[in-house]
């Protein structure tokens, strides 16, 4: 049977506010456990929440970015359950009246198609702390770190509009692109800044009723998400084709071992006993404030992509890659403006630079090569001072802190020889010293001669210690050989 996959996502986005959603404690990542938890985060008796206005603004900005209805009045509710990393015994979240209503996100697939994914709503809530269990903490006991407790989140809930892993990943990447472009999230997936819960069901091709879904929770990389979807779809197909039934359940996927397991079934699910939080007034947002936020909205990825195509004559593909997140886009633009060569800059940012960053698992802000330095390198490639091959050496030198492009070119003596007189002399010398190769060339059938050119090129480049301008050499060589025929 042919099966159709149906996927919906719930995405938790940590908002990049300096302080927590209901307290003044810092949200910075990586501090020693429990050093960023104040009496409110610890749920000490008598403490009360006060909502962070920046978090409200960030949520509204997201709503505006996806063209959603903004909840003029949104209400925080208490979601009750016991867990040691949930200090109050309830999570303050939104349910009936969320801050962001229905909206739409357009995604682009690899084949160039665009597709819309509807957003059901997005709501504000607080993150929980972290439990450190045996293996990650002392033997025999669990530890609790409440630094993360109270970090503001928006939870974005999509409609079940995706039909395969590629679409789900494209959607997830687009959300990443939107929230980082807005500057409302740092986008650091490895630090948990964005986490995905994937709802998956399958149904026979042509069926309109949805199948029973499972929810795979807390995926924090695009790759894990893709793998987890493939695994779960295969599992569901196996179950149904063996005559079994899908049980509505929550599942956990381990990206390291590539194994998923059931966490709890619907029957074991909590009754969360939601009710409006009496410690917080409904959040009322005026039309004027929404208008002000709309007017000051940073450039969004779609608009930026169009601008890159128009202003820098980039290909659709390059424009998509370079406009995806704000940091990459701004780096590219700085380097392109400085170098005056957008196409080469695009190649270097998306190619060598991005590969080196990935290899060292660092982000653009931590890059040892800044935009100005990269532009300096590109200028020297464009003006033929160095070849592409030399450029890689120079890039390596900049990366290792040896200085800027010109300094490294000078120090390593990497200047390309482009003087035609010198190059002609070099070619003449190589031809004179390799009469056998020249004879062989002349005696070869005309249509196969081209293949023989490489041998001459190699000799000439060797003779020039790699500094001859290859394009020029190639031209001179072709002319000289033609005269010999």
């Amino acid at each position: 049977m042919n099966w159709e996959t149906v996927i919906g996502l719930e995405v938790h986005v940590q908002l990049a506010t300096k302080t927590k959603i209901f307290s003044a404690a810092s949200t910075a990542f990586g501090a020693a456990p429990n050093t960023q938890a104040c009496e409110i985060d610890l749920a000490m008796p008598g403490t009360l929440p006060v909502v962070n206005k920046q978090a409200i603004d960030y949520a509204v900005m997201f709503g505006l970015a996806i063209d959603a209805e903004i909840g003029k009045t949104s209400v925080f509710e208490r979601k009750n359950y016991f867990y040691p990393d949930l200090p109050k015994g309830y999570q303050t979240t939104q349910l009936e009246q969320p801050i962001v209503g229905p909206g739409v996100v357009d995604i682009q697939l690899d084949n160039g198609d665009t597709q819309s994914v509807r957003i059901h709503h997005a709501h504000l809530e607080e993150d929980a702390g972290k439990s450190l269990h045996e293996g990650n903490f002392r033997s025999g006991v669990s530890g609790i770190d409440l630094n993360r407790a109270g970090t503001p989140l928006i939870e974005i809930v999509s409609e079940p509009d995706m039909r395969n892993a590629e679409e789900a990943v494209a959607f997830a990447k687009k959300l990443h692109s939107i929230v980082t472009s807005l500057g409302i999230c740092d986008g650091e997936m490895s630090q948990g800044s964005m986490r995905f819960d994937v709802n998956i069901s399958i149904r026979p091709q042509g069926e309109t009723k949805l199948g029973t879904r499972t929810e795979t929770k807390n995926l924090n990389s695009f790759k894990f998400m893709e793998d987890a979807i493939h695994l779960e779809v295969e599992r569901q197909i196996d179950v149904l084709e063996d005559g079994g039934e899908i049980i509505q359940e929550t599942r956990l996927y381990n990206g390291e071992t590539k194994v998923a397991r059931s966490m709890r079934s619907k029957e074991e699910a909590n009754d969360y006993r939601y009710f409006p939080c009496p410690d917080l007034l409904p959040v009322v947002i005026s039309d004027e404030h929404v208008a002000q936020l709309r007017d000051n909205l940073p450039e969004l990825p779609d608009a930026r992509q169009q601008r890159f195509i128009a202003d820098y004559e980039l290909s659709q593909y390059d424009a998509t890659v370079l406009s995806a997140d704000a940091a990459t886009a701004s780096y590219f633009e700085q380097a392109a403006k400085k170098s005056g060569n957008a196409k080469l800059t695009a190649n270097w940012v998306a190619g060598e630079l991005s590969a080196c960053l990935n290899a060292e698992a660092i982000n653009l802000e931590q890059s040892p090569v800044n935009a100005e330095q990269l532009a300096g390198l590109i200028i020297r490639i464009a003006d033929n001072t160095i070849s592409g091959k030399m450029a890689k050496q120079v890039f390596e030198g900049i990366w290792n802190g040896e200085g800027n492009a010109d300094q490294i070119i000078e120090k390593r003596g990497l200047k390309q020889v482009s003087d035609s007189g010198a190059l002609e002399a070099m070619v003449d010398e190589v031809l004179a010293n390799n009469q056998a190769m020249v004879d062989d060339y002349i005696n070869t059938d005309a249509d196969k001669r081209k293949k023989k050119l490489g041998g001459f090129m190699g000799q000439i480049m060797k003779a020039s210690k790699g500094q001859a301008n290859p394009q020029q050499v190639s031209q001179i060589l072709a002319q000289k050989l033609a005269k010999m025929l």
Binding site: P45, G46, V51, F82, P84, K88, R273, F275, D279, L280
Partner: protein
């Protein structure tokens, strides 16, 4: 000295008739000598009190004394006090020492007052007799075999026994007014949002409100001047200037329209109590007021609505007491569930557990609409009753509670009989209105309270009416037998 009112103490301190140290020592000695009989104080803070009195004396000597400088008072043990155990009358918090002050406590510190100690109360303010306290019941100084009322029974009994001239208290369903009535003192529950709830341990967040207790309305005005403030740490606190409540005490009552709700004089009201209240109303007529019969038709629904809303909020508010971070923790828990079960079973008394269970039930899936949703609708109806009434009258008066202090154990086995004790007080909490109780007669040698309900933020008019009554009556001057006046 202990018969002085706060007004008289301030006068004496300013005129150097006595020092703060002298009166502080006097009240500390009284508590130490007499409170073994009444059990009104949980924690005596002798050293801090003497230190505060010494500082107050220095300020008084310099002539820089703030309003309540040097005045010794007691605080209900529901207000968090930095460095001083705050138990909330519960075993759960028997070991809890907050690292912060409630805003109310901070206000009193800034006003130069001296904290003598922390008063006994029903556990987590849940009770109308003070019998639910982990520290044992408080005895009514007027009749040692009878209850002082609750939950602020410790504050009320201490004032009646002249162990302190004034005290803080809180009122969720009558917890200031009912004990004030039963102990023959004056107490005021302000409009919801007038006094900050920061650092006041929550019972039912949408109903809880702190307020003052003293022997006279004049003293309550002085205490409220200090207690009421806008506080940005409490989102439900209302940003509105605090009037000088002392300034209007002597206004004439000529033409004051007093609403008499017929529902407050129906079945269940003790005949002696009714007579005392009617006599007081006649007194008001003599003062120039006009009595207007009104109807608050939904009064009968207030107790059932309250016993859904208050336990629902409490069930969530008390979830934080889980043995993980502070407070009581069971010995040797074998797993997480065992930790929760035994910690909470051991740490909470029966009444608290009963209300957590009621609240949890009311919020459960399938019951929410029938209970919590319905109760919120009733709450709106009750609020509308009052809004309509205040279109016709300036104040509403009636009995504070159905009968004088009952004997210990009389209602202990019948929660509903106990809940009906608050039938006249609960509506104002549901509506968020201010209410107060002042002594207005005696039945069987036990005090009777007259309740005054005001419109929103109309505390000044209520205090004015109460003060004028106290100028022509002497119920508030009477002292229990054995407490020489």
């Amino acid at each position: 000295m202990h018969n002085f009112t706060i007004t008289e103490l301030i006068d004496g301190l300013k005129k150097k008739v006595f020092s703060s140290t002298e009166i502080t020592q006097h009240f500390l000695a009284r508590i130490k000598n007499l409170d073994s009989e009444f059990n009104s104080v949980i924690t005596l803070t002798e050293d801090q009190a003497l230190a505060a009195a010494k500082s107050a004396d220095q300020l008084l000597a310099k002539g820089e004394a703030p309003d309540l400088c040097g005045v010794p008072i007691l605080h209900k043990d529901i207000f968090c006090t930095d460095g001083v155990r705050t138990s909330c009358g519960s075993k759960m918090l028997n070991n809890f020492v907050p690292p912060y002050d409630a805003t109310v406590i901070e206000n009193f510190k800034n006003s130069g007052s001296v904290m003598l100690g922390k008063t006994n109360m029903d556990e987590f303010a849940m009770g109308s007799s003070n019998e639910t306290s982990f520290y044992g019941a408080v005895k009514n100084p007027w009749a040692i075999d009878s209850v002082p009322g609750g939950s602020s029974g410790g504050s009320a009994a201490a004032i009646a026994a002249r162990l302190a001239p004034g005290a803080t208290a809180t009122d969720t369903g009558g917890s200031i007014r009912q004990p004030a009535a039963l102990c023959g003192i004056t107490g005021l529950k302000p409009t919801y949002g007038r006094v900050s709830r920061w650092g006041m341990i929550a019972f039912a967040s949408s109903l809880d409100q702190g307020g003052p207790m003293a022997r006279t309305a004049e003293d309550c005005a002085l205490l409220l001047n200090c207690m009421a403030s806008y506080d940005d740490k409490d989102s439900t606190c209302i940003d509105r200037p605090v009037p000088n409540y002392s300034a209007s005490l002597n206004n004439s009552l000529e033409g004051l329209r007093i609403g008499i709700p017929k529902e407050y004089f129906s079945e269940g009201l003790n005949a002696g109590t009714e007579q005392a209240v009617r006599d007081s109303l006649a007194e008001y007529e003599k003062l120039g007021a006009e009595l207007v019969e009104i109807s608050l038709p939904n009064t009968g629904l207030s107790v059932p609505a309250y016993y859904v809303i208050a336990p629902a909020e409490a069930s969530a508010n008390l979830s934080r007491f889980d043995g993980v971070r502070y407070g009581h923790r069971c010995e040797e828990p074998k797993d997480l569930e065992d930790l929760y079960r035994r910690t909470r079973a051991e740490g909470f008394g029966d009444e608290v557990q009963r209300r957590i269970l009621i609240g949890t039930y009311c919020l459960s899936a399938g019951y929410y609409d029938a209970y919590y949703g319905k109760a919120q609708q009733v709450r709106q109806l009750i609020r509308q009753d009052f809004v309509r009434a205040f279109e016709k009258v300036d104040l509403i008066m009636g009995p504070t509670c159905p009968s004088p202090a009952f004997k210990f154990g009389a209602k202990g086995n019948d929660p509903v009989a106990m809940y009906l004790e608050d039938i006249y007080t609960i509506s104002t909490n549901l509506a968020g209105l201010p209410g107060m109780s002042l002594p207005c007669g005696m039945v069987d040698h036990k005090p009777v309270g007259l309740q005054i309900i005001g419109n929103y933020f109309d505390e000044a008019r209520m205090l004015n009416a109460a003060h004028q009554f106290q100028q022509v009556t002497d119920w508030h001057l009477q002292a229990p037998a054995g407490i020489e006046s």
